[in-house]
Every structure is written in structure tokens, then in C-alpha cells.
């Protein structure tokens, strides 16, 4: 068979040049995106003198964790010099319940919307979906009033409520789309077997849900942990989440700017979401595509 029958670029010199250009482009982009991360990580391990030296891209001369230590327990946020620790705890005690509650509620709502097709189920689902597209800023004022009326303004519990309510649209969407792919016959069979709404949920639907639970937890955790606007709007002082504290830490300067502490603080703030991705990440893609293929 003559060469001209082959696909272009699969033979001869052209092929190597093509490959080289592709890998070169990929490498350039990889460096472009990884450079800031590198700067943040390396700066966090430098001492202030070295930073002042100006070699932004050089590796730290000696491995110095004092900036991490200060960011965690000594850095001043406003007038309180407590470090990020109390705010980290705030964020954990806000995100964990908010993620779990919103995931659970989304799951049971998704189950009701798909397997108990009551009158108006589609309208309710559309409205919940609509909730996903409402920008944060729109709900700030009414939410502040609601929190005030409920007496949980400026508390971690208030933030939990905000995030549960705001997250419900997304979690319901995830679970609904996953449960649609689970055959209705299962629910019919269980109904005839004598199981009710909640028994079917606990014994059949929930054991089939781990992939979508992982997706939802990752999604919700990232959203809630990284949220700045709600935290800044609804809390002050001691009840603030980590993101707000990080902002205040960086804005609180007394003369010299401690870049190494800022960088370490930023990494501390990003660590939990990274951790969740690393632990559960491989389920993420699997869960996102689940439902498209029956299995």
C-alpha cells in the first residue's frame, strides 16, 4: 500500500516535528500554570531576609517552617494575634455539618423527585434548579434579615443554614440525575415487598449512592470551604470562617509585609480542599459520568 494512503503525520520526519511541537506547547502551559504554585510554596519556606533579596524563583536556602508556625498560631488578624487556628476550627465546624446536611437533604429530595413522581415534581425540580443560578449577591440582604429573625446572625450555625439552603439546589440536581438512572422497578419491587418510603431509601437507594455522594461532598466542600462572600457578610470577629480570616491576615500589616506568612496562610487555607480531592478525587470523575452508562 502506498504511503499516501496513510493518515498525514504518522510517518517520517513530519511526525517527530509534530510530536515535539505538541509536547513543547504542553510543557509551556504546564509551567505557566504551575509557576504561581511553585512561588507560593517556596516563598512560604523562606525567611524574610531571603525574600527581601528578591530571588523570587529560587529555591529556599534552608528549609524554614517558622512562617507556617506563625501563620497557624501567632499571626495577627486585626487586633487579635491568634493565627489562623481558631478560624480553621470555625471553617471545619461550619463546612462539615453544612456539607453533610445539604448532601443528605439533596439525596432524599432527589429520591422523592425521581421515584415518587408526585404532582408538580417537575415544577419543584425546575425551581430548585433555578436556585443554582441565583447569584450569591442577590440573596445576601434577605438572608441577613432571615438570620436576624432566627437569632443566628454572626454565628457559625447561621453560616451552616445559609450554605445548606444555598447548596440544596446543587445537591438535589446531582442526586436526582443519578437516581433517574436507577430503575423504577426496584422501588416497585420493594414496595410490594412491604418497604415504605424511608426503608426503601435506607436499604436500597442509599447503598447504591456512594459514587454520587462522593461527587456531592467534593463539590459542596469546595464551595462551602472556599466561600468568602457569605462569611464576610454574615459574620464578624470570632465567628468568621478561614477565608475571611485569611483576607484579614493579609490586610493586617504592621510595617513590613510578611510574604512568607501570607503564603503559608494561603496554603493552610487551601489544604483541606486539596486533601478532599486527593482522597476522593478518583471517585469524582467516575461519579460525574455514572448514570450515562447503566451499570
Amino acid at each position: 500500500m502506498a504511503n499516501r494512503d496513510r493518515l498525514p503525520g504518522t510517518d517520517g520526519k513530519g511526525r517527530y516535528i509534530g510530536r515535539f511541537l505538541i509536547y513543547l506547547t504542553l510543557a509551556v502551559f504546564a509551567i505557566w500554570y504551575l509557576a504561581p504554585l511553585y512561588v507560593v510554596v517556596s516563598t512560604s519556606f523562606k525567611d524574610l531576609a531571603e525574600i527581601r533579596g528578591g530571588a523570587l524563583l529560587s529555591l529556599p536556602h534552608e528549609f524554614n517552617v517558622s512562617a507556617w508556625h506563625k501563620a497557624w498560631s501567632q499571626a495577627c488578624i486585626g487586633v487579635e494575634c491568634t493565627g489562623l487556628k481558631p478560624y480553621f476550627i470555625n471553617s471545619i465546624s461550619m463546612s462539615v455539618p453544612a456539607v453533610l446536611i445539604s448532601t443528605f437533604l439533596g439525596s432524599i429530595t432527589g429520591y422523592a423527585l425521581t421515584k415518587y413522581r408526585f404532582r408538580g415534581a417537575n415544577i419543584i425540580f425546575s425551581l430548585m434548579l433555578f436556585g443554582c443560578f441565583i447569584p450569591f449577591q442577590v440573596v445576601i440582604l434577605p438572608m441577613a434579615q432571615t438570620l436576624g429573625m432566627l437569632g443566628i446572625a454572626n454565628t457559625v450555625n447561621g453560616l451552616i443554614l445559609v450554605h445548606v439552603v444555598y447548596g440544596l439546589g446543587f445537591t438535589t440536581l446531582f442526586f436526582r440525575n443519578y437516581y433517574v438512572s436507577i430503575p423504577d422497578d426496584l422501588v416497585k419491587a420493594a414496595t410490594i415487598d412491604g418497604a415504605g418510603f424511608f426503608r426503601i431509601y435506607w436499604r436500597i437507594m442509599l447503598p447504591l449512592s456512594p459514587p454520587i455522594i462522593v461527587v456531592t461532598i467534593i463539590w459542596q466542600f469546595t464551595q462551602i470551604w472556599n466561600d468568602f462572600l457569605f462569611g464576610a457578610s454574615f459574620t464578624t470577629g470570632g465567628a468568621q470562617p478561614l477565608t475571611v480570616a485569611l483576607n484579614n491576615l493579609i490586610n493586617t500589616t504592621t510595617g513590613v509585609k510578611h510574604y512568607n506568612i501570607d503564603m503559608a496562610a494561603a496554603l493552610i487555607a487551601a489544604a483541606p480542599t486539596l486533601f478532599v480531592y486527593i482522597v476522593a478525587g478518583r471517585y469524582f470523575v467516575r461519579g460525574l459520568t455514572a448514570g450515562s452508562v447503566k451499570g
Partner: protein
């Protein structure tokens, strides 16, 4: 052990009527097949009996008690689904015992019942597996085990064999038949496969467009179909429908059949029996329904049958029989002959017509006349 009575039951989705005025009565221990093509409402009717769909009008009684508003779990029924609907997260044993557990049966009693059912269905070696590790036939058995273990009053089967391959389907059909014989339970079985219906049923209800066309024994449905739909649906290959006119020749009443013989169209008179009824139809156009096995080779045929000679257009050997396609009354008709006597396509051969078993239909209403 129970009777099932359906009185004028109907189902509407909004203004769309899916089932219209269904009435039937099932005796204790009877297996009734609901037969129809897809969309005829047979599964809807089954779901209504199960309680998974509400009943728009009329009522359904189990043992004389109206169950319209009774929850499925309290109707004492069990259902086998086409998709098996096994709980994927549970083992076979858990799948079978789930219904018992929901009803508060004690663990020891449950295990005992599960084991006896598993033995009966020959799945006792699979009890610790998950459904995903089973083959189609095994899953089907587990699904039946789940239904059997509770010993319900009524068994409902929703196309249980449709997902199996042809060979397994026949095997499982035999199993279900044996099961029915040994349990003597009342069963409702939905299928679109007329062979399943004919082989399994004590009685068949044929549905079309949400209306029962005929509710009778398989033999009666086969030999005296209520209308052309039933006649065409049951039997394979299906019945030949020939438009003919009732006529008199001498003192015999019969029909004129146009036959293609040696390239020429000939009109042949075929006398029919029971002249009294037919005499009222003289001169009328009717549809003669004649099954392929009623047109056979002339050789070895009984003497008093009507005979025809005609050209064979196509020959289809099926093994046991050979199907010959011939032109009768201008229509392609199928004759079922013995392979030894079948001629080559394009040749002509003699056929014997067992017209006494043929049916006559009204060409307008498509109902059976005689």
C-alpha cells in the same frame, strides 16, 4: 390461593384512556395470560392489580374484597419484573428474604424459608452472591424465589422471560408451568409472545387499545378467534385472510376462490359445510380466515377435503414443515406442507383445504361470523 375479580376497571391518564371497562374473573389456581402488543395496556392492568397504579374506575377484588385503596404490601401479592429488579446491593439470600424481613418474620424462620425456596429453584449454591455475579437465567430464578418465598395469594409476572435468550426462555417457560402445576397458585402473566401465552395459560385475555378482545382458553382462542385481530395475533405463521364472496353452486354453498394455476387465474368453487348458517350470507362478501396448517399437500389428505391446484411462488423450509407461499383470492397465502411433498418454487402442486375449520369474518367489523 385466591380468586381475582376485575369489574369494569378503567385507567385514564388525564384525558387519555389507557384501559377501558376491563372485566374478568380468575378462579382459584388459574393462570391467566394478558396478551397484547406493546402499548395495549397489559402492563398497566398488571400494575393496577399490584397496586402500583391507581384504578380510575371500576374495582378489583381479591377473594371478593375490593382492593382499590389497599396498599400493595397489604394485597398479599408478589410480582416478577421483566428487568428482574433485584436489589443490587444485597446478596441473593437477602434479596429473597427482604420481603419477609419487612413483614417482621424472625431470622431463623426466614433462613429456613429462603433455603427451601432456593432448593426448589436450584439456586441454593448462589445464596451468597450479588445479583451482578449472576447470569440472566439465574437472576430470573432469584426474582421468582423472591416472589415464591412469601407464598402470596396471587403471583404477577410482567414479561418475565423477555430478557432471556431463546433457549433459556423455553426452559424457564417449562419451569413456570411446572411451578404453577405444583403450587396451584393464582397467577397473572403478561407477555407479548403468543407462544408463551398459548403454552402457559389456562385462559388468555387478548388486549388491544385498552380493550379485551377475547378472554377464553388457548384452544378456543386458536380455533374460534373473536375477531381478525385475535386471529392474526395468535398462531405462527399467522392466519391467512382471504376476501371471498359466499355463493351457491348446485345445492352446495361455498366460496369462490381465485387460484393462480400454471400462470393463469382460475376461479375455483370451494364448498363449505353447515349450509344453514351460510345460506343467510349468500352473495355477501366475507373474509375467509384459514390457518396455514389447514392447507396441506394433497397426498395422504382425507378424502372429503376440498382440493386445489396452484402455483407455488416461494418455498420456506422450517425443518419439521415447509411453508409454501401461494396466491389465493389475490393474496399471498401460506400453506404448511410436509417437506417430502413440497415442490420447487415456480412449480405447481395440489393442496387439500380443510375448510370446515376455517373462520368467516365480517369485512367491515372484522368480527367472527361463523
Amino acid at each position: 390461593m385466591a380468586t381475582l375479580t376485575i369489574n369494569n376497571a378503567g385507567k385514564k391518564y388525564g384525558s387519555v384512556e389507557v384501559l377501558n371497562d376491563i372485566s374478568m374473573e380468575l378462579n382459584d389456581g388459574e393462570l391467566v395470560v394478558l396478551l397484547g402488543s406493546s402499548g395495549c395496556g397489559k402492563s398497566t392492568l398488571l400494575n393496577m392489580i399490584a397496586g402500583l397504579e391507581s384504578i380510575s374506575s371500576g374495582d378489583i377484588r381479591i377473594d371478593g374484597e375490593i382492593v382499590n385503596d389497599i396498599h400493595p404490601k397489604n394485597r398479599d401479592i408478589a410480582m416478577v419484573f421483566q428487568s428482574y429488579a433485584l436489589y443490587p446491593n444485597m446478596t441473593v439470600a437477602k434479596n429473597i428474604s427482604f420481603g419477609l424481613e419487612m413483614r417482621g418474620v424472625e431470622k431463623e424462620k426466614r433462613d429456613e424459608l429462603v433455603n427451601s425456596v432456593a432448593k426448589m429453584l436450584q439456586i441454593d449454591h448462589l445464596l451468597n452472591r450479588k445479583p451482578a455475579q449472576l447470569s440472566g437465567g439465574q437472576r430470573q430464578r432469584v426474582a421468582m424465589g423472591r416472589a415464591l418465598v412469601r407464598r402470596p395469594k396471587i403471583f404477577l409476572f410482567d414479561e418475565p422471560l423477555s430478557n432471556l435468550d431463546a433457549k433459556l426462555r423455553v426452559e424457564m417457560r417449562h419451569e413456570i408451568k411446572k411451578l404453577h402445576t405444583s403450587l396451584k397458585a393464582t397467577m397473572v402473566y403478561v407477555t407479548h409472545d403468543q407462544i408463551e401465552a398459548m403454552t402457559l395459560a389456562d385462559r388468555i385475555a387478548i388486549l388491544k387499545g385498552g380493550v379485551v378482545q377475547q378472554f377464553a382458553t388457548p384452544a378456543e382462542i386458536y380455533s374460534r378467534p373473536a375477531n381478525m385481530f385475535v386471529a392474526g395475533f395468535v398462531g405462527s405463521p399467522s392466519m391467512n385472510f382471504l376476501p371471498v364472496t359466499v355463493a351457491q353452486q348446485g345445492n352446495e354453498i361455498g366460496v369462490h376462490l381465485a387460484v393462480q394455476y400454471q400462470g393463469k387465474s382460475e376461479n375455483q368453487f370451494v364448498p363449505m359445510r353447515n349450509n344453514d348458517k351460510l345460506s343467510q350470507l349468500l352473495g355477501r362478501e366475507v373474509i375467509l380466515g384459514i390457518r396455514p396448517e389447514m392447507i396441506t399437500q394433497l397426498e395422504n389428505a382425507e378424502k372429503d377435503l376440498a382440493t386445489l391446484h396452484c402455483d407455488v411462488e416461494v418455498v420456506e423450509p422450517t425443518g419439521a414443515d415447509t411453508l409454501c407461499i401461494i396466491k389465493l383470492a389475490g393474496k399471498d397465502s401460506i400453506a404448511r406442507v410436509s417437506p417430502i411433498h413440497a415442490c420447487a418454487p415456480g412449480e405447481s402442486m395440489g393442496f387439500a383445504l380443510d375448510i370446515s375449520r376455517a373462520c368467516l369474518f365480517d369485512p367491515v367489523t372484522e368480527e367472527l361470523i361463523s
